[in-house]
Amino acid sequence: MKIAVFVKQVPDSAAKLTVDNGVVNWGDAPLVINPWDEYAVEAALQLAEKHNGEVAAFSLGDENAKEALKHALAMGANSATLISDPALAAADATAAARVFAAAVQKLGGVDLAVFGRQAIDSDTGLAPAMTARVLGWPVLSMIAAIPALEAGTIKVERAIEEGRQVVEGKLPAVLSIVKDFSEPRYPSFMGIRKASKAEIPVWSLGDLGIGAPESKVSWSEITAPAQREVTNEMITGANADEIAAKLADLIIAEGVL
């Protein structure tokens, strides 16, 4: 079984973000593997362990993205490849999906392409379904569990708004994984050593054999939201009942119930 997993390098979720001349600045916060992608790597590794497979990690980005790939290698991925090309600097979700699909095809013989549910920086959540569509594969998104995988069919439990949906799909398929799947493993000491020494090859658009896909979405402006003005009122009282009565009256007076 051949599994491709896609990871992204993003500013840490604790980062305080500012915008300077339209450019996002995350100060001294570290760049880390997108937290949602760790679940994707974990799922890919578990499937590979169970079904005698191998895991190839990919990331689209600049040299920094090699760190996310090293994290995937340290967790246990068999190989890692950076996809980087100056022509992809402003790639939107459709352009990225066409690149991901080209990488899957260049790798060849892929049974599953695995993604996290979305990246915590761009927050689009479009890559899994778009990549599936470019490949002509089914997408099974928001996967919380994979109860069966055999004979070219995968059975998954999807965490949708209304609860859990059990779906079967034919391979090859694109998956997106959510947190319920399982805690991602910590990289082992050996894994970290191996990853730190790994040479990570870089594929350009030329290597993928495609031209620069056209981006359909453009960003004209990034701004910080208006500061929230809150009049803060601390509620006190002789006992819990008195505090609760005051608080309930005040909340009702706000007219939000």
Partner: protein
């Protein structure tokens, strides 16, 4: 002003998401004609509701192959219709389904998606939208340079639409685009949680954090001997208590990442940057200190109330009302106070 604007009416087993009607109302503000797309089986009743909220026309795709939502079947039908009829824009509620269909349709039609937007502006014939990024820590203004513009709308960001029961319109039936035999997925079963209010649609959210486990007065049953298990048991009792408050206010139960990671409550309840970004009218944070990732996920709530033992907890900075105290004393008293006042 855009001409024909389509709205994908997202529903689960025939019950439409409230955000579907918010999308119809939003479509009316940018388009001269609004067409609602309703796919499923036995869902024709939704057409009337779509008219009440402002749709002029409904394209009704009813077929056994559309009975359960499947991304490929729904996206193929939407793309086929849009290629034939060339709408200027298609709006979707930002749900798991809406996002997926929009994503696939963008590839089919060589267009782009503006995802999870909170505002749409018509700028001289071009639709621009505001997409919160980094969980709303920043706002990005985005445009699609292709047609149709595919836009998914964040629930509750576009206001509650008004229904007019006297409105009606024309229903046109459309056939499925893909034969059952050509579909690559099959829905086997559902394990739904009955009666749960979804966080995205909730007007009131009551969330608990790590502090929920903090009630030494509760004695776990004797068969639980492991300390960690005892802590989880205490927290679960705490979430039952929070559920009672939520019920009194017809709200949903949320949680901080700390509470989810500690195993107190499932991930589906997590509010924050790596959970759900929410914007209810009332958000009550119980035993949540207010890590930046949590604040990003709820900062646009209209009224925020915080109860915490620590007077220096960062959550108080966002709170309209704050109580420094033990949530195990305050919450039951608050539930009772609301029950008395709201007559429940």
């Amino acid at each position: 002003m855009a001409g024909n604007v389509w709205v994908y009416v997202d529903h689960f087993k025939g019950a439409a998401l409230p955000a579907s009607y918010e999308a119809i109302a939003a479509a009316k503000t940018i388009g001269s004609k609004v067409t609602a797309l309703i796919f499923g089986e036995g869902v024709d009743a939704l057409a009337q509701t779509a008219f009440h909220y402002g749709a002029d026309e409904v394209l009704l795709g009813e077929d056994a192959s559309l009975a359960d939502y499947r991304a490929e079947a729904y996206a193929s039908l939407l793309s086929k219709l849009a290629k034939e009829q060339q709408p200027d824009a298609v709006l979707f509620p930002t749900s798991t389904r809406g996002r997926e269909i929009a994503a696939m349709a963008a590839i089919d039609m060589d267009s782009g998606v503006l995802p999870d937007v909170t505002e749409i502006k018509d700028e001289g014939g071009t639709l621009a939208a505001i997409h919160p990024i980094y969980a709303g820590k920043l706002l990005s203004k985005v445009v699609v340079n292709a047609k149709p513009a595919l836009i998914t709308l964040r629930g509750r960001a576009f206001g509650k639409p008004a229904a007019d029961a006297s409105r009606s319109g024309t229903v046109t039936k459309v056939a499925a685009a893909v034969a059952e035999g050509d579909l690559q997925t099959k829905v086997v079963d559902y394990a739904t949680v009955e009666g749960r209010v979804s966080l995205g649609d909730a007007g009131v959210i009551i969330s608990g954090g790590r502090g929920v486990a903090n009630n030494p007065a509760l004695t776990p049953p004797a068969e639980i001997t492991d300390e960690k298990e005892k802590e989880i048991w205490r927290a679960q009792q705490g979430f039952v208590m929070i559920g009672e408050l939520a019920q009194a206010l017809n709200g949903a139960v949320g949680a901080s990442r700390a509470a989810v990671d500690a195993g107190y409550i499932p991930y589906a309840n997590q509010v924050g940057q790596t959970g759900k970004v929410v914007s209810p009218d009332l958000y009550i944070a119980l035993g949540i200190s207010g890590a930046i990732q949590h604040l990003a996920g709820m900062r646009t709530s209209k009224v925020i109330v915080a109860v915490n033992k620590d007077p220096d907890a960062p959550i108080f900075k966002l709170a309209r009302f704050g109580v420094v105290g033990d949530l195990y004393e305050i919450v039951p008293a608050l539930t009772k106070a609301f029950q008395e006042r709201l007559g429940k």
